[in-house]
Structures are given as C-alpha cells and as structure tokens.
C-alpha cells in the first residue's frame, strides 16, 4: 500500500515561506549583508513519505510540485554529489517545443509555458531568454523533416515554420547561407518560442522553493540499495513488490515511495528495485568558447552537421553535439569531438575561426530505444521513474516534475505522460522522437 497523503490539487500552488524573498528592493535594502541560506541544511531522518533519488532538476522539480501542488512535504531529495551536478549542470540549456509527434509537442509545449513563468513561480530569476530556435536543413530530406515538424507543430498551436536562406540570414547574419559550403543551408525550421535558460538557476530555484515548503535536500548521500518486499525477483524485489525504503551511504531510510530521477545512472538505480530498464547510457559532449560581444541572436541547430550553438548572456558560445556512439559512464570526452565540432561550426559560420575553445565536458544521457522518456509508475509499487530523457531532459524538467507529482499524489497517470509509461516497450507503443531528437536541441 502506498501511504502517501493525497489531496486534490489546489487551485493556486502553495507558495513557500522563504527566509528572504528576492527582489531588487531587497537587494538594495540588504546591501552588503549576506543572505540567509537558499535551502535549509537538516539531518537525514530515518523515515519520509517520499524519497526522491537524484538532486538534479527532475528530482527537485518533482519534489517542488509534490509540495506546492499537492501539499506533500515530508519528502527527501538525495544526491550522491552536489545538487545539479549531473546532466542539470552539463546540458546546453536549450528550451523548445518543436517536436515531431503530437505527444511530444503537447508535452514540451507545457514545459516551455512553465519555464516562461518559472522565475516568478520560484522567486528566482532563471534568466529564460526567448530568442528563437533555428534548425537548419542541408538536404532535401532534412528540409522535408522540417516541414513535417512545422505541420505537426502548427496543428498543435505551436509557433514553428520553415523559412528560406534569406530569412535565415536576416535572423542570424553570422550564418553562411551561400552555396559555398560543402552542405549549403537550404532552409530552416524557425521556432520563435525557443530559447536558452540559466540551467543552474533552475536547479537552485526549485531547490530553494521546495525547501521553503519543507522538502529536505541531502547532498553527498548516495543510494546504495533499495528495499522492496514481496516482489517476484530475487530478495523479494522486482515486479509485484512494494518499496519500503532505501539504504544510503549515510544510513537507512524507510519510505513507501521512491522516485528514480537519476538520468545516466537510472538503470543502475532501477536494478536496485529489481527492474530492468531499456536504457543505455551514452556520454554527450559539450564545449564553451571564450566570451565575445553578442552576435548570435538565436539558437542554431544543424542536425546533419551534428551541432547546436547558442550565445549566452555572458557572451560565450555554448556548443553541443550528438551523443557519443558507444555506451559508457566515462565522461572524459575526446579530442575528436572538439575537432569535429569546430569543423562543423566553421561550416556554418566561417568567420569564427579565431574564436577559442575554453573548456569541454561531458554529461551522461539515458537513452531509450524510441528516444522518449520513461515516466510514471512501475510494476514495483511505490517505485516511480522519471528517466530515459536522453538528450533533452532539461527541457522537460518542469512538466515532468509537475506531471509525475500528480501521478504519485493522485495515483492516476495524467494524460500528458500516459504515452511514456514503461510498459509501452512490452506493448509495442513506442513514441517516435528520433526525428526531432537526432541532434534536436
């Protein structure tokens, strides 16, 4: 039996009692005095209603919406490192909703809408920069896919359209739209609502707001095992079982509900509950240049060249690429990535040869066979998953957290996440997002 206090979603989300609300006036008033802690530091207790494994943006958003929308506050978020140290701190912070399938579009559209007002909801400026998103097409086939996406988007009321080279040049003058490149730019899918956001701020915003509502955050607390009783597998784990708690590097914690929000490590955590997920973990590499004055007003993506690029408010260019082809937990990255990336960026913008790469890094992506997530309840009672986000987990965090919180609290799977249940792999109801996700950022 899942013993979670249930209540109807309130009309208005609960607002936390912040130790100090943020505002320009408060900044001036406080002056040089330090601010109180952004989240409270508490001792790890031995029992909670809900334990969320993974202190990234998905885990924290889930905890926040459990507290704010459902009044469930006896929640602990556990992370083996520091908050936002995984994919949440390593992604390229692009937000968009121009997906390929109706399910995907509806889902990410909700996410973009939540992102747009997140700064106000969380009382922390996540610096969402709505600057437009261009997915370039370098071939007839790619252009056809862009048109397809545009049609699906428009039908769902999402602002996307295919534009030609002249319009591309007008929007992003730095792009070479001539016939000269090896793969000339033939057109692009233009998605005005897309943009970038300060990814770390989203993590801190959710953590702070959740803490204000009573959620506890425990860093450096690694989950070593999950206790399940009555399951059909070894040790009573697996399908048919009921979660009873977790064993951590800092002691045992009992909880009837455990939520797996661990991205690249998701299959390892699920295995602790006796579940096998159809997920393989691949690194995705990214890099950043030295800052220069603003010249790139939109997010630019090229699927065929495997690159996406945006310029942050700090002036740096942030690049990402496709996932590495081989499955590994190694985040060492490669020289080949930097070389290919630079080559592809210069194909798009040949004038950037003197810009310098400052830093490269990798994150881990939890890839599913259909590039769509696994979210919701599982065959182990009380064990919920919010994983399989692959290369676009960050974009989905608000809506995933909101919907999963509803799923846990109400016991019913909301329509928006219904297509993404784990059992779709057994039932053959895969959701096709490869077209939008191949390098779709």
């Amino acid at each position: 039996m899942v013993q979670v206090p249930r209540s109807n979603p309130r009309r208005r989300p609960r607002r936390g009692r912040y130790p100090a609300r943020y505002s320009a006036a408060a900044l001036l008033r406080r002056g040089k005095a330090p601010w109180p802690p952004i989240w409270r530091s508490t001792e790890l207790r031995d029992t909670y209603d809900i334990v969320v494994v993974g202190g990234g943006v998905h885990g924290l958003a889930t905890a926040y919406y459990l507290a704010s929308n459902w009044g469930i506050t006896n929640v602990a978020v556990l992370d083996k490192g520091y908050l936002g140290g995984g994919g949440s701190g390593r992604n390229t912070a692009i937000v968009r909703s121009n997906y390929l399938t109706p399910d995907g579009v509806a889902f990410y559209d909700r996410s973009v809408r939540l992102y747009e007002r997140l700064a106000v909801d969380l009382n922390l400026n996540v610096m969402f920069s709505r600057r437009g998103h261009l997915t370039l097409a370098h071939s007839d086939g790619a252009l056809r896919t862009m048109r397809w996406r545009a049609e699906v988007n428009k039908h769902q009321g999402v602002d996307s359209e295919v534009i030609g080279p002249a319009e591309i040049k007008r929007l992003v003058p730095a792009l070479d739209v001539s016939e000269a490149p090896r793969h000339p730019i033939l057109g692009a899918l233009h998605h005005p609502p897309g943009g970038i956001i300060r990814h770390d701020a989203v993590v801190w915003g959710y953590a702070r707001a959740a803490a204000a509502l009573g959620v506890e955050m425990h860093q450096n607390t690694e989950v070593l095992d999950i206790d399940v009783a009555g399951g059909s597998g070894p040790d009573g784990k697996g399908p048919g079982g009921q979660v009873t708690g977790v064993r951590t590097s800092r002691g045992e914690v009992s909880a009837p509900v455990v939520v797996n929000c661990t991205a690249g490590w998701a299959s390892l955590i699920a295995a602790m509950a006796g579940l096998r997920l159809p997920i393989s973990t691949h690194p995705l590499q990214a890099a950043v240049t030295e800052p220069v004055k603003m010249f790139l007003p939109a997010v630019v993506v090229s699927g065929s060249l495997h690159v996406y690029v945006s310029q942050t408010d700090r002036g740096e260019l942030v690049f990402g690429a496709a996932v590495d082809p081989l499955a590994t937990y190694d985040t060492g990255g490669s020289l080949a990535f930097a070389e290919e990336l630079a080559g592809h960026v210069l194909q798009l913008m040949p004038g950037l040869g003197r810009m310098r790469l400052l830093r490269q890094w990798s994150g881990l992506c939890d890839m599913t066979p259909d590039y769509s997530p696994i979210i919701g309840a599982t065959d182990v009672a009380g064990f919920f998953c919010d994983v399989g986000w692959g290369t676009y987990g960050f974009k989905a965090a608000p809506v995933a957290g909101e919907q999963l919180a509803a799923c846990i609290a109400s016991g019913e799977t909301p329509d928006l996440i219904e297509p993404f249940a784990l059992n779709r792999f057994a039932e053959g109801r895969l959701v096709g997002e490869k077209g939008a996700a191949a390098v779709g950022h």
């Binding site: 700064a119 610096m127 086939g141 060492g332 930097a338 003197r354």
Partner: protein
C-alpha cells in the same frame, strides 16, 4: 622607518583628472605616454632595440621593440590601465605579464581576447582595449554606484523577475556587460593544417627540469618532442640571474644538439587515453595556429608553477603585481614597473624581485611575509596605486606593490590522466597525489609541479625523469613491434622493466597565504570577490562546485589557474573546513584555449561524383546534392524523361547505390541474420529483394542482393544508407560473429552502375552483349548474369525494375563507365534512348508504389507498416529485429493500438492538385476538433497517368481501400483524397517489368 615615508604628497600619486600614468582618458581612448618607463639596455633583455615596431593602441600610435609583448610595449610607453573589469568596470593593469594575465586581454584587429601579456608585438597591429569604455557609460556608472551595495555575485538571480514583460529589456542591458572582444563573423577564414606525430616522449614544459628531461631522454635514443608555452626555453631562468640565464642557454643548446624537436609558443592542450595528446602550435612563422595530434609513448609533465595572487582590499588595482610579473617586465623587457615599491614576499622569488627592482633604481620597501606581516589594502585613485597599508598599520606611499604569496601547480594534464591533486599545507600548494603511477608509468612529472629544490636538484630530477621516460618508451615500442610482428620481424627481447628510482624532490615550507584580513578580488576575470564567496557559502552553496556555478569564480580566461586555490581557501575559511576537505574543481581540457580554426583544420569530407559526371555536365544536367554525391536531378524535362522510359528506353546513372561484395563460406548466414526474409535457397544467378530492420523492428534499409557464386554475393543498399549499412554490418560481424568466415568489401566506387529501363531495353542491351542470352526465358526477372558489355568484361547485370519497366542494372568496372554509357547512347539512337535523372526515377517509382527508406518510412516505421508482412519469415533462424517483428505480426489484436500507421497509396480527388510532401492528414474527433492521423510521405504529378499520385502513412483504421481522407494544405486549406487498393498506381500486376 620606511624609506618611502608616509606623509601625503610624498608619493608619486597623480592629480585627479590629469590622466597621468593611464592610457585611458575620459574623452578619447588614445594613449598618452606620460612617463615612459623603458630602462636603458640591460643584460638578458629579449627586445631588439635596433628594430622598433609601431602599432596603435585605441587608435593612437605607440612604438615598441621586436621581442616586446603587446603588454610590455604598452607598459614601456607608460600605460598602466589595460582593461576594465567585467562587472564593476574597475580599471585593471598588468598582474602577471604572461599568458595567464587576466587584465591584459585585448582586441587585435579582428581577433578578440588576445593575451596581451603573451602575444608578441608586430608592426602595424591595431590593438584596442576590450570592455574599456562601455558604450553604455552611464549604465556602468549607475551599476558601479550600486555595486558596493547590491552587485554581489549572483545578484541577477535575485531580481528582474517582475514584471515579466520587462525582463527582455533587462536582459539586453545585462548582455552589454558580457566581457570579451568583438568577433567579426564576416572575417576571412584562414587555412589551418594539422599534423600527426608519434614521438616516444613528449615533454610539456621547457623550464630547467623539462629541458633536462628532454635532453636525457633524447640521449637515451628516444624521439622527443618538447613543448614550451612561452616564446623561448628556460622557464623561470629566463628572468633570473646571469648564471641562471646561462644555464637556460646551455640546456637549450643541449636539447638542440641532442636532436629534441622543440616547439615554442605551443602548448599541450589536452591528454586522453594512451597519451593521445593535442599539441597546439600558436600563430607564427609556420602559419596560422596548428593542431598536432601526437600519440606519445610517455608524457612528461613539467609545467612548472603559476604564481598565486593574494587577496586583500584593492588587490586588483593597477600597480599591484605578482613578483613574476614585475621581474618579467624588468628583466625581459627592461620596463620599470614603478618608481617606489613595496615588495611583500613569502619566498625566494619575491626576495629576488625586491633585489631586481632595487638594482633597477626603484625605491623598495621589502616586507617579509614570513614574519607574519601582511598587506591589508592597496589604496589610490583613478586607477593608480598611491598607498599600501600593512597589517601593522604602516602606510607606505608607493606606485607599485609586488606580492609573492606562493604557487599553484598546474596539474591539469596529470588530472586528465587520472592523477588527483592533493593539498600539502606545509608547502601551501597542491601536488599530484601519486606522481609517476598514472597509466602504468607512462605519465611522469618533474620540476616545480612535483616539488622544490636547488637548480641542480631540479635538473637532476629532470634528467632522471627523462631517462625513465626513454626506458619506458623503449619497452612500449618493443611491445608495439611484437603486436605487429606480422608486418616486420622483431629483433631482440623486451627491454627489462625499469623501476622508478628517482630521488623525489623535496618540498620547501611555505606559509599559507591566501587572503588577508580584508576582502579583495579572488577572480579578476570574473570580478568575484572573497566576500562574494563567503556570502555564497552562507547562502548554502557549500561545495566548491556550487560556489563556482553561483559566483562564476574560476570560469574566466585562465580557467582557474590563478583563482582556484584562493577560491578553495576562502571557501574553506568560510565553511570552517580545510583546503583538503574542500578540494578543487575538475580541470578540463584544453589547458590553454585553442582556436576553432586550428581544431577544425581542413574539412576531410569528399564530394563524390560518379565516373560519368563530366558526361552529365556535357548533357546539360541540373545537379542535385544527394548526401555526399552530386547527381543529375534531370536533363531539362523530367516528365519527358519519364515518358521516354515508358515508351522507349532510358539510361540512368545509379552509381551511388551502395554495393558490397560478400564472400566466404558463412556469407549466407550473414544475409540471413541481416535480412528479414530467407536466403538459404537463393539459386546462383538469382537476385532477391530484401529489407533490413534494426533491433526495434524499424526499417533500416532495403535493396537487392544477387548470388554470383556458391560463396559469393553482391549486395546493394540504398544510396543514402550505404555508409551506415557497411558500419552496421561490420558491427554485427566484428562484435557478434567474429568467428564467421566471411569478408564484406565495399565496392560502391569500384563499379559504375547504369540502369537501362524501358520496353526497348532488351533490344538495346542485345546490341552490346554477346556472351549472355538476354531472352525472356533465359534471363528472367530477378536474375543476375555476369558478362561483357560493349567489350567490357566483368560486368554484373541484374534484371530488376525500380521504375516498373523491363530493365537491366549494369555494374561496370568504374574505369569503363563512360565508355559503356556512351556505347549505350550510340547503339540506341534509333531506339530513342536518352538519359534520365533522379527526378524521373522518383516519379516512376512512385507510380509503381515503391517506397523510399527514410522518406516514406521514418525512424518509427516497422516493416509491417510498409506492407512487408509477406517478406518477414518467422519460420527461419534468428535475425535482426525478429522479436519486435514477431510481436508486431503475431501479437494479440487487442495489444495493437489502432494508431499504428500503414503505408498506402493515395490519390487526391482533384487530379491536378499535388499535395506537398509532409502535408498532414486529419480526422474529426468526437469533440468537434481535428486529430492528425497521418501524413503524405511522397507526392508527384504522374505524366503517365496524368494525375497527382501519393504515398501516405495513415493510422490502420483509415488505411482501407476507398477510405476518404482529409489533407491539410500548408496554407491550411482542406483537400479530399482516396486510399487506393494497391501501392502501385501504375501496372499493379507488374506485367511490364516481367516482359
């Protein structure tokens, strides 16, 4: 009593508004060299006074000498302010006078973020300050006025939330404060080469230990590449005493004599598995920046030490300099950095700086940090230092403060090899945790990064390290030769394992000096102060990674090389923990920034053309880029080309078609694994169509494969999929079935492929082929023959028909392609033969209802969607995609949601309306709205049928024949269309191609 006195007016402070000593003036930014500070010629200087170079600084002319850096030339001309800080726009001067100087980044022509402390001066350079005068000057002032109160790190996270509509305006203002120079996207690309190197030993760092290591390794017979970050060898000896300089010269001479390859102004930017190194040679006489990809057997890291700034009030004021910066200015470029100085020193380098300055005529107050006296403030006005305040209250009127607070070991390359840095409080710096143990001893370290010692001790350790590196490289080289013994015989036994018997370098005691009792700037690039870090810790950002992200400390141009340890120290102080407990952030590549141009090099991506390309051009083709290939889309009128094929005969160049030659006893097993259909009973001389699916049952590729012999097949794949399919097949062979005796050879380019299609194709081919009976009974549809075409032996002929006509696909040895093509045109002139292009072929295949993988199928289209149930054989052995396909074919009807799409032929009601490809197909929902139920995947106007024809994917329930569909045009208009019985719009029984 201080020699400098302490009364007002006795110092060299400047009158307000005079601009004296600064080169940035209020109304124009041109340089005003008020107090040239170049000294007369001195021994050891690296400038050539015979070669003056004139350049411009913010538009005004300045003269330096060859050998000057941009910063030293400007400093010599009296410039003290080189930039404005990122957030508070505070004036900044020279700090380190080398590559890592955070304050001397400048714009040079169209190149942003040039390291002014490192880049050598060239005549005519147009140098300007970055971030110096923001165009929004009033904003800068406004924010700076607020700065002390509200501009703490992360302030932007705490404001601008409301009103939401105003945020984009705020954002624009914030973006104006982005640091960095200006990139001109229109600037001309430069051509960068790359080089591959396979040295035995790479030594990173050309100081005394690195030089000694390189010499010793080379004398042991190793091929050595020595990479030095600076413009010349010697490390810290270069700005040292006469004897130190002569030692550097001797070592450099020995390196040259020993045959060491020496790269200066270069850096080892990154290190990956098995010593895969990125070595970057910066712009120079050899051309633009160059990436050298080196596979070293042993890497010796001798990166030396980087001097650490000290944190106190005013520590970012121009006139506050590190001891290395002062000594470099003085001893390398003969620039006197000030006239009255406080030298606050905790080590020998600082003591030497005091002595050097005094010798140069600077009035020096030497404050010994080892006695506990510290600097608490550097005060002044208008970007100039006027006064230094010490912890005992002493106030000294000076224009220069030199600090020597300790060192940071740049352990990045070792960290990339898995060596963790470990803090030693007694020596007040981090050391590699276990030097010499990384990757079984193929990564070694020496010099300052490893420890301290006299010059002799450093050189001795370097030599021992070099010998060890050479021995280990020799062992590795032997093992590599053994591993490739099939190529060349191996002589001699493996050299004996050499143990690491180096005498470790000692560690000099050093006081832990990070922050004074006052607060100052910790990260000068990012304008992050110690107070910001303390506040961040108080706000709950209690780990170094969180603090880094919240404050952006260590994220600037030096990537933490100057800032990380101070950040850690301040955080440790704030959280009541030790530096060891806090630890450092992760060092990531590159060690120093690398241009995109150098990383990219030249593009190695060929443009592929068939052997017939010139003939197509001569025939007036309209080209189309199809993947890597340039192909004829048409020769003027695709519809006429279709009609000619249907009525007479046409020829098309299909050379890009992927072709794989498959041989071996297990070839049939391979085909059975890859394809969803059966291959065991394919007769020699027969051709079969096959489809390959991925493990998830999704269609990957299709094509025909012919059996040429008992153990010999020729497989064709789609043109676009040929590369990926070869990788896919090799993946199966090499990872799952390495025991199979089968060889797969790509022969796409070995053959020129020509399809001869049309009712007269048999007659045409008969005129050119003597040794194959082309009769309808002798050479049936879906058979393969080998023979001679137009005198060219070894041609493969397939009788297949993508166009739906009687047709033969000829695979001709590529060199004879043009001959056969021209022979076909000549022999068939009376038959009406004409070339046709890709567009005509696409129209004809659509008339026949043949799908194209990737266009009519997508990443979710399983074989049954495309109507391939008849092809999938579940009664054969396991094949790729089988479990998924079995479920799709045999699953309970209730399992299959009705949303699974089907590929169907569709004809619009209006025969003249051609719906654009990817138009959506919708159906009304019970609530009066519309739902997407499918899309048009291919559409054309058929010249044969004189009407529009389509293929579409629609949900199964809407896929029945005669179902009426609603197509939504791109403009939103609705059109009706009907689902057809067959995929083929034309000749559904296939009578023509079987003729």
């Amino acid at each position: 009593m201080s020699p400098l006195g302490s009364g007002p007016g006795s110092g060299p402070g400047q009158a307000p508004g005079s601009g004296s000593g600064t080169c940035l003036r209020r109304n124009d930014d041109r340089v005003v060299p008020m107090s040239p500070s170049r000294l007369p010629a001195r021994p050891g200087e690296v400038i050539d006074r015979e070669r003056p170079l004139t350049f411009t600084w913010n538009g005004g002319a300045v003269t330096g000498f060859a050998g000057d850096t941009i910063a030293s030339a400007l400093a010599a001309s009296g410039c003290t302010v080189f930039s404005r800080s990122m957030k508070y726009h505070r004036p900044r001067g020279i700090l380190t006078a080398d590559f890592w100087d955070p304050n001397t980044l400048v714009q040079v022509g169209d190149e942003p973020n040039v390291r002014g402390g490192h880049r050598l001066l060239e005549a005519g350079m147009a140098v300007s300050a970055q971030n110096a005068w923001p165009s929004l000057r009033w904003d800068a002032k406004a924010l700076t006025a607020l700065g002390g109160r509200a501009l703490s790190a992360g302030f932007y996270y705490k404001t601008f939330m409301r009103p939401r509509w105003l945020w984009p305006a705020y954002e624009k203002v914030l973006a104006r404060f982005a640091p960095g120079g200006v990139i001109d996207p229109a600037s001309a690309p430069r051509r960068h080469d790359k080089r591959y190197a396979h040295p035995d030993v790479v030594v990173a760092g050309g100081g005394p230990a690195g030089l000694a290591a390189a010499v010793a390794a080379a004398r042991e017979g190793a091929g050595v590449l020595l990479v030095e970050h600076e413009h010349s060898l010697g490390g810290h000896l270069r700005w040292g005493t006469k004897s130190e300089r002569s030692m550097a010269a001797a070592l450099a001479g020995a390196a040259e004599a020993a045959g060491v390859e020496i790269l200066t102004d270069a850096t080892v930017a990154g290190r990956w598995e098995d010593n895969w190194l990125a070595v970057v040679e910066r712009d120079g006489a050899g051309g633009p920046e160059r990436l050298i990809k080196a596979r070293a057997k042993v890497l010796v890291v001798a990166a030396g030490l980087i001097e650490r700034p000290y944190v106190f009030a005013g520590n970012d004021r121009p006139g506050v300099m590190l001891s290395g910066g002062a000594r470099r200015l003085l001893n390398l470029w003969s620039v006197r950095p000030g006239s009255r100085a406080v030298v606050w020193s905790a080590n020998a380098a600082g003591d030497a700086a005091a002595a050097d300055l005094e010798a140069a005529g600077v009035v020096v107050e030497h404050v010994d940090a080892r006695t506990g006296r510290t600097v608490t403030a550097a005060e002044g006005r208008r970007g100039a230092l006027e006064r230094v305040v010490l912890s005992d209250g002493t106030r000294l009127e000076v224009d220069l403060l030199v600090t020597a607070a300790g060192w940071t070991a740049p352990t990045s390359l070792l960290n990339m090899a898995g060596v963790r840095p470990r803090y030693d409080p007694a020596a007040a710096r981090f050391f590699p945790a276990e030097p010499g143990t990384a990757e079984a001893g193929t990564v070694l370290s020496t010099g300052g990064i490893s420890g301290d010692g006299s010059l002799d001790e450093l050189v001795g350790h370097g030599e021992a390290t070099g010998r060890l590196a050479a021995a280990r490289a020799a062992t590795l080289a032997h093992r590599l030769r053994v591993a490739t013994a099939w190529a060349a015989p191996v002589d001699g036994p493996e050299p004996p394992e050499v143990p690491d018997e180096r005498t470790p370098l000692g560690r000099d005691p050093h006081p832990e000096l990070y922050r004074s009792s006052t607060d100052g700037i910790v990260d000068l690039s990012e304008d992050v102060g110690s107070r910001d870090l303390r506040h961040a810790a108080a706000e709950g950002f209690d780990s170094v990674e969180l603090v880094k992200r919240w404050t952006t400390a260590t994220m600037g141009s030096a990537q933490g090389k100057l800032e990380t340890v101070n950040t850690v120290a301040v955080l440790a102080e704030a959280t009541g923990s030790t530096i060891s407990e806090v630890g450092t952030t992760t060092w990531r590549p590159p060690f120093a920034p690398v241009t995109l141009g150098a990383l990219a090099g030249r593009m190695f991506e060929p443009l592929r053309i068939s052997s017939l390309h010139d003939l197509h051009v001569a025939a007036g083709m309209t080209p189309i880029q199809a993947g890597q290939w340039i192909r004829p889309e048409h020769y003027g009128d695709p519809a006429a080309e279709v009609c000619n094929v249907r009525a007479n005969v046409g020829i098309i160049d299909v050379s890009p078609l992927g072709k794989l030659d498959i041989r071996g006893p297990d070839a049939t097993d391979l085909l059975s694994l890859l394809y969803v259909n059966k291959w065991r009973r394919l007769a020699i001389g027969a051709v079969r169509y096959g489809v390959m699916c991925a493990e998830d049952g999704v269609i990957l590729d299709d094509g025909v494969t012919g059996r040429l012999g008992e153990e010999h097949y020729l497989m064709s794949t789609t043109s676009s999929g040929s590369g990926a399919m070869e990788v896919w097949i090799q993946n199966w062979l090499q990872t799952e079935h390495p025991d199979w005796r089968v060889r797969v050879t790509p022969v796409t380019d070995a053959y020129t492929s020509i399809n001869v299609a049309g009712p007269r194709s048999r007659v045409l081919l008969g005129r050119l082929v003597d040794d194959v009976d082309l009769g309808p009974e002798a050479f049936k549809y879906m058979q393969v023959r080998r023979g001679t075409v137009a005198g060219v032996a070894g041609c493969v002929m397939w009788r297949i028909g993508f166009t739906g006509e009687l047709s033969y696909e000829l695979h001709v040895p590529a060199g004879y392609g043009p001959h056969v093509w021209q022979a076909l045109l000549a022999a068939g002139a009376d038959l009406g033969v004409a070339p046709f292009g890709l567009e005509a072929q696409r129209i004809m295949r659509l008339e026949k209802g043949h799908f194209i993988v990737g266009q009519d199928t997508d990443a979710l289209t399983k074989a049954p969607t495309a109507g391939l149930e008849w092809l999938i054989k579940l009664d054969k052995e396991d094949f790729c995609g089988r479990p998924e396909l079995q479920w799709a074919l045999e699953g309970e009807p209730g399992d299959a949601p009705d949303a699974v799409p089907r590929l169907v032929a569709v004809q619009p009601t209006d025969p003249s309306y051609v719906p654009p490809e990817v138009c959506q197909i919708v159906a009304a929902t019970p609530d009066g709205k519309e739902r997407i139920i499918g899309r048009i995947t291919s559409s054309r106007f058929s010249p044969t049928l004189e009407r529009s024809i389509c293929l579409a994917q629609v949900e199964a329930v809407h896929a029945g024949p005669d179902t009426e569909l609603t197509i939504v045009d791109i403009t939103g208009r609705r059109h009706t269309a009907t689902v057809m019985l067959h995929h083929a719009h034309f000749d559904p029984e296939g009578e023509r191609l079987r003729a």
